[in-house]
């Protein structure tokens, strides 16, 4: 008798809940965004705790969480923002592998810190891949559940868990390695391809005063508001590739920080690129929060990238899929 895939029923969708993995690569030349988890670090940690491959799909939960009913027993971990998750009213510990019984009802409550939580599950959220990924890109209607956010009465399937998953119950990311999300972080950037398009004043202002995340901010990018960043001559360039972390400055002189759903190309001068190691901090911001910037070299950014990954591999080795 074939075993039925375990199901998660969506009783309430929350503010904006999407299926995300580590994104869709190989199709940017056709205009397809990479997308994937905003805080890919938190998603990856959840997956490693559970014995999933790094790129297994989970739910990205934004600010106000959903209400979910588990039809079968499932092993899960919730990482990222602390949105006060509960199971039938009892608190679920963050960054920890937890066994859920059939009939568990998951709810979220007060936002303690951060903006995006990740619900990862042993076996990962499963479904038909679109261009090699389950990541949802709402703007183009690609991936996830019919290219949209989760809605009421949706059913999410869960893939087969690795045989080791049961042994991971209780496994937890040690306290000292858990990210501390703050509402006004400093993030490090490396000079962008059009760094020399900006005046010395612009560079000084950029690194000496904070920028507010406006309400015109979403998974595509954050429109920031702060000191104006004047260009030497022009704000526009011939369209070329942009990436997550690119800081574009259009002619209104206010920077836009590109995030997971950004388009593959753009035509505004790029002052800087936020380093990968600090992407998680930015991903955990909500409108009204603010950001300060510090410039480091590309060399230093690469070293940090490698040392961060090496440290994670030491604490939580990647799992073979």
């Amino acid at each position: 008798m074939p075993t039925k895939q375990p199901l998660i029923h969506v009783l309430h969708p929350g503010l904006f809940t999407t299926v995300q993995d580590l994104g869709r690569s190989g199709y940017q030349r056709f205009g397809v965004s990479v997308s994937g988890a905003m805080d890919s670090w938190a998603l990856m940690i959840g997956n490693r705790l559970l014995g999933n491959p790094d790129g297994a799909a989970g739910l990205e939960i934004t600010i106000q969480g959903p209400e979910l009913l588990f039809e079968q027993a499932l092993t899960i971990a919730i990482t990222g923002a602390d949105l006060s998750p509960t199971d039938n009213g009892l608190a679920i510990p963050m960054w920890t592998v937890v066994a859920m019984q059939a009939g568990s009802r998951i709810q979220f409550g007060m936002r303690r810190h951060g903006a995006r939580a990740y619900l990862t599950v042993a076996g990962g959220i499963s479904g038909p891949m679109t261009l090699g990924s389950l990541a949802t890109h709402v703007r183009s209607g690609v991936g996830g559940l019919a290219g949209r956010a989760v809605k009421k009465w949706d059913q999410l399937s869960v893939g087969p868990a690795a045989p080791m998953a049961a042994q991971s119950i209780g496994r937890s990311l040690p306290e000292q390695f858990r990210p501390r999300y703050v509402a006004s972080p400093t993030v490090r950037v490396m000079p962008g391809p059009q760094f020399d398009y900006f005046t010395d004043d612009a560079i000084r202002l950029f690194t000496s005063s904070p920028y507010r995340v406006t309400t015109e901010s979403d998974r595509m990018g954050y429109r920031l508001e702060g000191a104006e960043l004047p260009h030497r001559t022009s704000a526009e360039i011939v369209s070329e590739a942009v990436c997550v972390g690119s800081l574009q400055v259009p002619s209104n002189r206010q920077p836009i920080l590109l995030m997971a759903d950004c388009q593959p190309t753009g035509g505004y001068a790029k002052l800087a690129t936020m380093i990968g190691a600090d992407r998680s901090r930015a991903a955990q911001l909500a409108p009204g929060d603010s950001l300060s910037f510090r410039i480091i070299s590309a060399q230093k950014a690469s070293e940090l990238f490698r040392s961060n990954h090496a440290e994670l591999d030491r604490i939580l080795p990647p799992c073979r899929s």
């Binding site: 690569s25 190989g26 199709y27 940017q28 030349r29 056709f30 205009g31 397809v32 679109t130 261009l131 703007r139 183009s140 209607g141 690609v142 490396m190 962008g192 391809p193 011939v238 369209s239 070329e240 590739a241 942009v242 990436c243 997550v244 972390g245 690119s246 388009q263 593959p264 190309t265 790029k270 690129t273 380093i275 990968g276 590309a298 950014a301 690469s302 990238f305 490698r306 990954h309």
Partner: protein, 228 residues
């Protein structure tokens, strides 16, 4: 030939071949892209060709920027055998003007032409797909005959219909999906540029060529009906 290499991020390098929109520069970009696709560079994820540069994405856990730059400099780039000499020419029927092309009268007026003449001029040349971007399957085509070159709308439309053919400066393009957009809309095609249910979801690739052919509203409706 390579004008400049610059790190876009820890895991991306942009290779520039020039500063402007020109066929000869784009030839180099596409030839370089084809060479990178074949090169088997360690940690390679993807390469994204644009008008005058190509950006290579790599896994920074497996390699580093310095090594990737060295790998790229070592490539032999042959524009003679690259896809910049495209074998694929697509014919795209367009209903110009009317309800399909609300900006055609303005584009024609500033060109000193009638709307019909402007449509004919737009359909009179073969365009290069310089790059795709903005949304899945959106082609940046050029170079538009000089009289038709018109800046973007001062305020973008909230909704542009799928299949809309637009002009922005010397570029022309087609919106594969309904979306907001600031290009001057001169017509609409029933051809579907992006469809996930097809074996080849994307009609166009960088380096392809496109010919537009004017059709009447009746033929548009008939072709659009056949696709449904």
């Amino acid at each position: 030939m390579i004008a400049r290499m610059i790190q876009l991020s820890e895991s991306a390098i942009t290779v520039e071949f020039g500063d402007t929109i020109a066929l000869s520069t784009n030839d180099l970009v596409l030839a370089f892209t084809a060479a990178v696709d074949q090169a088997g560079i360690r940690g390679f994820i993807e390469v994204v060709p644009t008008y005058r540069s190509a950006t290579l994405y790599f896994d920074a856990r497996l390699t580093d920027a310095g090594t990737v730059m060295k790998n790229m400099r070592a490539l032999t780039v042959d524009t003679a055998v690259s896809p910049s000499r495209p074998s694929t020419t697509h014919t795209i029927p367009v209903w110009y003007g009317g309800a399909a092309g609300p900006d055609l009268p303005d584009v024609a007026r500033q060109a000193g032409l009638t709307a019909e003449e402007a449509g004919e001029l737009h359909a009179s040349i073969t365009y290069r797909v310089f790059m795709l971007g903005f949304s899945p399957g959106f082609p940046y085509l050029g170079i538009v005959p000089a009289p038709l070159a018109t800046p973007r709308l001062p305020t973008p439309r909230k909704q542009v219909a799928a299949g809309s053919v637009g002009i922005a400066g010397t570029q022309t393009g087609v919106y594969p999906q309904a979306s907001p957009g600031g290009w001057r809309i001169i017509g609409r095609t029933p051809v579907v540029l992006f469809d996930l249910h097809r074996p080849k979801p994307f009609l166009l690739a960088p380096g392809d060529q496109v010919r537009f052919v004017a059709i009447e509203e009746e033929e548009f409706e008939q072709l659009a009906g056949d696709q449904a």
